[in-house]
Symmetry: C2
Subunit: 339 residues, 2 copies
């Protein structure tokens, strides 16, 4: 471990800035996860956090020769803070310093498991948004492996104008193409009937815009169609997306709780526990994947679940590397420009 | 069986008009289900349908001494028809004739498994709506037994004004109290954050109205909270409600499909099939319950799933009897008036 960019480690193609002060188990699990990413995957990590706290955590891990660097910050923006106000009051907070490292080119991506609102505000103000984007969106294959469809928006934009849904489609297509390797992603609009003309005003107008676009628009899908492989990208208002995201997670847990009744007599209690865990995980893919990129930001910002432990933190850091490798931001910029 | 009101059967407290021409398996399963309700539960049923078709079905069942009466109708309104137009073109269609029997007092309730749009249009035009209701709503404990919360609206009203959501709360409370026996039903607003002020414009305004009302309003709940017994009645726009309803059904089926993988080695293929079926049923309570009443109509109208078979038809007829017995319509009228 070094406190400035190391000269003993091999030249790194890039570095990931990790906000080690954000998340339910910060800094302990964040530091452990970052060290793991450096050791197992050779990813250079910049640990952004309170010097004393990070050093104390680092002392628990052997880091000699690893591309692990401490970058001091002061304070942390909490879930309970108002993101924009907190950025003014804590201008050197860990999430802000991490974004600055990306802006100045010292890191090529950042990871935060703290307040998503703070990550969005920081990304917007420090890194900026792509042309045509009004606010970062959150999206991803939140139902994988039950469904690989990328849903945008998962909760950061509500009361969307139809044109915003068109933008979600474009950046969702960039994600499906770059990260998931889908050739000509099929775009669908989430609505309450398959036919054109079904839905609320927002959906009806978005339908017209999507139909007139050059995107591979396949029409409306309904809530049950996620599981029928009808689309690669599904767009909806963030109000609906967030309700579904949390509903899926809750329903998975609720079904897992019913298993002992459904499987009474078939399984040992040990096996039952394992099956219950596997089943809950099925509907909680966002957590399982470590995190996903904010959509529409002029830089790679991976946001993850606050409850994540070290292994999941390492996964989020790998996702950051992946997004840089496949040039996700450039792909999103291109798709937005093509609209 | 008689073709006019029978004089050989004991005096009936009421009769249920059954639209035996609506539904995927009409008239066969509809007639069978109605006969079953008459035989097993002593409920007088008026079979509304094409004379020849119904007689042919009735000939398959012994109905001597049963309170089963044929009421002729002409034509049926299909899912693909425009409900209001179809009512003009087929003024003697089965669903219309069934509603007329309720209006004239020959029946106290009706059941239809045909087009929900047709049932709603017929209910509105033939029976009328309660004061303050603009359009019938569809609601119910769609997640029972995973959750007993009554969700209103499940898809008949989109782009709702906040005042409509307040109305959904009132009629949902009447249902929870009358049908489910809940003492002082807790009302929650579905949104994307627990705190007041979270949500889209519609939710924020509805929050204020609900807070100012005399209802037992417990605030916002999120998508995952359905399973945590935080509310007895949950209100949302029908766009969101319909997406969730179909999403739950699809997710249950998708998880059931994963079971062979999760349970590999534990269960015989026979046991696996049974468990898969039980699990799918968990998220498809609307079908399991037979059907639910249209909310806000000046009469008991039970709408059921088109795929229902005889046993489920009989359940829907029992639900109709129950709604009459507990005076559901009066309870809804009272709650609306108290707003």
């Amino acid at each position: 471990m070094t406190t400035t960019a190391s000269t003993n480690t091999p030249a790194q193609p890039f570095a990931v800035a990790v906000d080690v002060m954000g998340g339910d188990y910060a800094p302990e699990e964040l530091v452990a996860g970052a060290v793991q990413a450096a050791r197992q995957h050779g990813i250079a990590v910049l640990l952004v956090g309170d010097t004393a706290a990070v050093k104390a955590e680092l002392s628990k891990h052997p880091t000699d020769g690893l591309p692990v660097t401490l970058v001091p910050s002061q304070g942390v923006i909490l879930e309970t803070d108002h993101p924009a106000l907190a950025m003014r009051e804590k201008p050197r907070a860990s999430v802000v310093e991490a974004a600055k490292l990306v802006r100045t080119g010292r890191a090529q991506a950042m990871v935060s498991l703290g307040s998503t609102g703070a990550a969005m505000a920081t990304a917007t103000l420090v890194l900026g948004l792509l042309e045509g984007v009004e606010r970062p969106a959150v999206g991803g294959p939140f139902l994988a492996p039950l469904s690989n469809a990328v849903l945008v928006d998962l909760g950061s934009n509500v009361d969307c104008r139809p044109a915003q849904l068109l933008g979600f489609a474009a950046i969702g297509v960039a994600f499906a193409r770059s990260i998931q390797g889908v050739d000509n992603p099929r775009v669908a609009l989430l609505s309450v009937g398959a036919e054109e003309g079904k839905g609320n005003r927002q959906a009806k107008e978005a339908f017209s815009l999507l139909k007139a676009s050059k995107l591979n628009f396949v029409g409306n899908i309904e809530g049950g169609d996620f599981f029928l492989d009808r689309a690669d990208v599904v767009v909806c208002d963030g109000f609906v997306g967030n309700v579904i995201l949390k509903f899926a997670e809750g329903l998975g847990v609720a079904i897992a709780h019913q298993l002992p009744m459904l499987l009474a007599g078939y399984l040992s209690s040990e096996a039952m526990k394992k099956v219950s865990r596997d089943l809950s995980a099925l509907t909680n893919a966002v957590e399982a994947a470590g995190g996903g990129p904010l959509f529409g930001v002029n830089g790679v910002v991976i946001v993850g679940h606050g409850r994540s432990r070290a292994a999941t933190v390492a996964d989020a850091i790998r996702m950051a590397k992946r997004a840089v490798d496949v040039k996700l931001v450039e792909a999103m910029r291109r798709e937005m420009a093509a609209l």
